[in-house]
């Protein structure tokens, strides 16, 4: 049994302008100790997917449906008390902006100790010892002295390390990381990713890595879900995806990666803006931006279908195999590089 099995997850927000379908029928599963990457533009629904799984969306005006089975139990139907016991203990989360995700008026030690005491019946002293252990594990220098410092006394990278320590402090089975490196500078990004890979090996947690950066996916993920406009556009093990991407949106994402080894004049960009989720385009949701658009794309939305020679690979595009082979071949060297 998969650790987390999400089936046909939908999250709709009621707003004054109508219903925003932020997540509209997303399915995936996460195996024990594996890393799932969810990639997509801002507003594609990747963060909302995870907030829904964690039960962290505001209750008012949110409608969720589908299933999110955690070790066989549906997180969406769980009592809030039961869900609270799972949050921060079995499933932990790291957020995008470490500058604002820590409480500014509590010392980081107090915030980490709180995370332990909420789930473990241990003394404050033991909790503090565990806190120090974790701060050292995430590479905070002079942890004994810094444990009583406040968030504003740490740099962005250090704060994200603190967030990671807080997430891992109760040895979670699943760590959800919502763009953990987006707010950090490039060198710090690499450090944080390395740290996460290393800690995953030590702690054995599964990871859901939400990102808009395929470079991050290539580095850390086992499986990839590409989301576009609240739906899954393509889904595959990471090697298969990079070897033979099937969806024009994925091609666009790959083409917009900066590269060192090729002499590219200009980065390819995906034309236009992501669609409004208030009333998404008819037919394929990507068709207004797709350079390969056909008549059928404007009327009929493609199903998420298995790729014929690749049983673990799913894609949602009407294009014929020949065109896909030709177009994807232009990008395959990218996959090799990644």
């Amino acid at each position: 049994m998969a650790l987390l099995e999400v089936t046909d997850l939908k999250t709709h927000f009621r707003t004054d302008d109508g219903i925003v379908k932020a997540v509209d029928g997303v399915s995936f599963s996460v195996e024990k100790g594996q890393t799932l990457g969810i990639v997509g533009e801002s507003g594609s629904g990747k963060s909302v997917t995870c907030l829904t799984i964690m039960g962290l969306n505001a209750r008012v005006n949110t409608i969720s449906s589908g299933e999110a089975l955690w070790k066989g139990q549906d997180l969406l139907k769980m009592s809030s008390r039961h869900l609270r016991n799972i949050r921060g203990d079995d499933i932990a989360m790291i957020f995008q902006d470490p500058m604002t995700s820590l409480n500014p008026v509590k010392s980081i030690g107090a915030q980490l100790i709180e995370a332990i005491l909420l789930h473990r019946d241990v003394s404050k002293k033991q909790a503090k010892a565990r806190t120090l252990e974790l701060l050292k594990a995430v590479g905070i220098p002079r942890a004994e002295r810094r444990v009583d410092d406040y968030p504003h006394q740490f740099s962005g990278g250090m704060r994200q390390r603190v967030m990671i320590a807080m997430a891992l402090i109760n040895d979670p089975d699943l760590l959800i990381a919502d763009e953990p490196t987006t707010a950090l500078d490039v060198t710090t990004q690499a450090q944080i990713l390395n740290l996460m890979s290393k800690l995953q090996a030590d702690f054995g947690s599964a990871i859901i890595m939400i990102t808009h950066d395929l470079g991050v996916i290539a580095e850390i993920a086992d499986d990839v879900v590409v989301m576009y406009a609240a739906r899954v556009a393509e889904q595959a093990p990471v090697d298969n995806l990079f070897r033979r991407p099937h969806h024009p949106y994925t091609w666009g994402l790959l083409g917009s990666l900066p590269r060192l080894d090729a002499d590219v004049e200009r980065l390819v960009q995906i034309q236009g803006q992501p669609p409004s989720l208030l009333n998404p385009p008819r037919g394929c949701r990507f068709h207004p931006r797709c350079p390969y658009v056909m008549e059928i794309c404007k009327t009929t939305e493609p199903e998420l279908l298995q790729v014929s020679h690749d049983p673990e690979h799913f894609q949602r595009c009407h294009l014929d195999e020949e065109t896909k082979d030709r177009e994807a071949a232009k990008l395959t060297h990218l996959g090799d590089a990644a």
Binding site: M54, L56, R84, N85, I86, R87, G88, D89, A92, M93, F95, D97, T100, S101, L102, N103, P104, V105, K106, S107, E114, A115, L118, H119, Y150, H152, M163, M166
Partner: protein, 321 residues
Amino acid sequence: MFRYLIRRLLWACVLFLVITVVTFVIFFMIPVNPAKQACGQRASERCILNAKHTLGLDRPLPIQYLRFMDRLVIHQNLGKSFVTRRSVNTLVLNAAPVTASLVFGGAFFWMLIALPVGILSALKPRSLLDRLAMVFVLIGISAHPVWIGLILSYLIGFKLGWTPITGYCDFFNPSTDCGGPVQWAWHMILPWTTFAILFTALYVRMIRANVMEASHEDYVRTARAKGAPEWIVIRSHILRNALLPVVTMLGMDIGVALGGAIFTESIFSLPGLGSTALDSIQLFDLPVTQGIVVFATFAIIVFNLVVDLLYAVIDPRIRLA
């Protein structure tokens, strides 16, 4: 910390000088001759000259100001009233406890109501309580304290006869014909209510806004993601942050109000700083006006300093240097 304190105290001195100069100058811009007033109607030339000399008005303005500052700083003496010849120190010392009773009692009540109402309406926006609170805020901010005070004293004091209509009773030793804590509180009920309504409205609105803002912060989501139950999220993450600015506001408002809650005091005939100041202005009694302004400035400066120091204690982000 020590350097900060010194710097603040120096600034306080500058502020103090500026405010005394301004009140002094404004007073002398008014085309009234206090000496003539002191001699009453149909004053003789001689009397006026005499009065001018006794009041020190025959000297140049800067000298008058310097003499005033000399008395104030060296002898802690605010001078004597032009009108009654009573010591201004005594006047201020008699009036200050009345105003303090009004302000601190009022502050107690407005916080007692504004805290729970503001917090609850922020946590349940658009609920019945929230809507009622917002109606109250609108009325409380719009209605003038004089109107509220008159309505209250007419309905509750006069028609129903539940409370005294006017007057003040000493908390400790009765210098007036009534005294003791019970009589004191009994007489203060209407003034407290009148005084507190505006501030309750302002504070409900401010606390509601702060709590709402804080409850959307990322660290609140982090706390929920940790698995913290709702009451811990509210108490130690939302409120801990949302109420910090309220401390500042409270300190400053109390400081300002100590200068005299003029409207409330006049309606209920409380012999506090506000009504004393009002009387002295009407009589062009410069030393008394000046004395109360000095005292009010002092109160505001002290309360601001206290708030700043307190803030450094409760907010770890602020380090005084």
